[in-house]
Assembly symmetry: C2
Homo-oligomer: 413 residues x 2
């Protein structure tokens, strides 16, 4: 018998963030946790007093299985940054009072960089004030930009989606291009890190040429050189497909999307809201080369397409959730679960715990040597790194032809 | 032993157009066709003398099986309208000379409305000139706008994709919407017919509220009423998801997407920025209601996402291809294969042949009575009609984690 735990989800959704939640619930249950609470909409909802007793909602083994196949945050997510601990102790006291009230021993937070920042602050505060609760983070982000961990749960499924969808878009374009050239620009998420955009290279294989050009935000983007490249490619082929990150910038640091559209919307973390890189480039090519162009954004589906999730990713997300509970119950505090690649071939991966201070607020970019010299593709090393992460499927459970999800029905209890 | 046949694909790709091709090849082979030719890029490529002997390329049973799981036109497609038969007999003589040269008895064309127009003209010309070839069409379009046939191969898979993707987008938005409202506008293909947009309703179920509003092109669109609807919905929920057809028009017949382009906005390079319907509406809502909005276009994936195809659709497409070969060899001419729904519950469907003159150039729209009175949703009858078409899956064959396709490698022979 262990004490009670509380778990929350935060940041942008992924296809497997609920698999981590399922892992948390499973291990907590197996270890006999007194209560398993879920914060609604992360720490922000918790501060509003919103939480549930998960045993009222995730009850059967079938529930757990469907939860693993359900995209987006089952508990609801938030984008909420805690103040520094010296800035506003009230808010911290409020949180710890709630934890005391619920008699919670372990606090598990599934999220990305900003969520690990939350774990860091809460564990620091607990240590300083002598509170007994343990805080452990479970990595989650399609962006794969967390430090130390080999990769992040959520990335493999997003990469599998991007590789597959890119391949289908390429087939579509090749099938249609005959008397007229078609240039397709695919815009992929990832403001600063090109991990997702590089995954478009997965489309390449015996049966597909893959994208012709791939532009990551780590390399500066030159519109003239780009137009020239496309023009040259069109001399030998009818369809050209280009994958670009939403965050590509020109040499002087300007976002390409802003060249076409100067809207300055900023989110709670000061991130600029980017849209329209593909549209801008498609318009440019159309104007410069006079050919038919198409701008495609993979949109929120790249993080929510659980119907195309990687089984490897689902399993690792599940394992990371369970490992976090184990670590917290065994006394770890201010830690994040990391994935350690033990072997490349055959691929083997285990979990470990790591000091969250060394992870939060550090952004892992694609290494320069994994981008080709002219900045228009990723290297074979990149593909070798990513390939094991997209292997195998966990087929959705279709009901009436549409994948079934487990959803939190607050009227159910 | 039968004579030789030639088959071509035309118009916009679908996820199952190759399943029809597989059906053509299989039945032609089974009946002992002398030669099975494939036109490259439809009648347009054929006129350029481009065709292959398919026995060089589709050889094994495994090839046929993978072809059924390969999206887009294996043979290449075209968008080419033949002149009226009295306008340019030269072009017709050119085609028939090629058919004579290849000793082709049957001409099978897999396509939509324009392709059936091709079948009509070629069969008319053959009859008038006393040429012996038989011309039979296989229906194919995600738009489902062909007359007489209960539905078209390609529609079920597109509908399954739209229903699933809409559900995942809804989950994503619900998971994130907490302190701020999020309005998501999904733009779906179908300029005149709302069959695809209505399929967004498939997302609705025990575990999903479905889209809040659905706007088909068959009903006129009122921007003020729409904004008011969204505003009212935001009083009781944080996330509002709207599905709109790319072709919705205002009462005076103006495309909504053109309203946005009317402002003549030009980017820094002097290029006109073309916005879609969803982007225009998202911008409108953001400006009017001040909330976060998101515009999502399902893009070419709605017609190419073979990874989420409907098995029912794949099987019907395959059967339609086979039925066309059978009909042509048995003397049918100027016909299209139609799908006949024999029973609703349990769903049963067979093929039949029908005079192509009564089908080509007729556009089947969603019946008015299948759209709710205020024009913001589809009726239960619509959903009952569509549900059988999306049932069951034909799982892609992933190689290295990405679905494998069969592609025409012209260097292979």
């Amino acid at each position: 018998m262990e004490g009670s735990i509380i778990v929350g989800q935060s940041g942008g959704p992924t296809a497997v963030i609920n698999s981590s939640l399922a892992g948390v619930v499973k291990t907590a249950k197996d270890r006999g946790a007194k209560k398993i609470y879920g914060m609604l909409h992360g720490i922000q909802g918790f501060l509003d007093g919103k939480y549930v007793d998960l045993s009222d909602y995730i009850q059967t083994e079938l529930d757990v299985e469907i939860l693993k196949r359900t995209p987006s945050a089952y508990l609801g997510s938030c984008r909420y940054k805690l103040p520094e601990i010296h800035e506003n102790t009230e808010i911290y006291e409020q949180i710890f009072a709630l934890l005391e009230k619920l008699d919670v021993e372990c606090f598990i937070y599934i999220g990305g960089n900003d969520s690990m920042d939350t774990i860091r602050k809460l564990s620091d505060y607990a240590i300083i004030k002598g509170y007994p609760q343990k805080f452990v983070g479970v990595p989650k982000t399609i962006d794969n930009d967390l430090a130390i961990t080999d990769h992040t749960p959520g990335y493999g499924s997003a990469a599998k989606y991007i590789g597959t969808a890119t391949k289908e878009v390429i087939r579509d374009a090749i099938g249609l291009a005959y008397d007229k050239d078609i240039v397709t620009i695919i815009e992929i998420m990832g403001r600063n890190a090109g991990w997702l955009t590089g995954a478009a290279a997965l489309a390449k294989g015996e049966d597909c040429p893959g994208p012709d050009l791939i532009y990551l935000p780590e390399a500066s983007f030159d519109i003239q050189k780009f137009t020239k490249k496309v023009k040259d490619l069109l001399k030998k082929q009818k369809s050209v497909v280009v994958a670009v990150s939403e965050g590509i910038k020109t040499k002087d640091g300007k976002y390409v999307c802003e060249l076409g559209n100067d809207n300055g919307y900023v989110d709670a973390f000061g991130h600029k809201q980017l849209t329209g890189t593909a549209t801008f480039l498609a318009n440019t090519i159309q104007a410069e080369l006079g050919c038919k162009t198409r701008a495609i954004e993979f949109s929120t589906l790249q993080r929510s397409a659980a119907h195309l999730a990687s089984r490897t990713d689902i399993n690792e997300a599940f394992a990371a959730g369970g490992a976090a509970v184990k670590a917290a119950f065994e006394g770890d505090n201010g830690k994040m679960i990391i994935l350690k690649r033990v072997s490349d071939d055959p691929y083997q991966c285990t979990t470990d715990v790591y000091d969250v201070h060394k992870i939060s607020n550090v952004e892992k970019l694609v290494p320069k040597e994994w981008i080709t010299q002219d900045g228009t593709y990723v290297s074979d090393e990149f593909i070798s790194y990513i390939e094991p992460l997209i292997q195998a499927e966990l087929i959705p459970l279709p009901v009436e032809g549409i994948p079934r999800h487990l959803v939190l029905d607050l009227t159910k209890k």
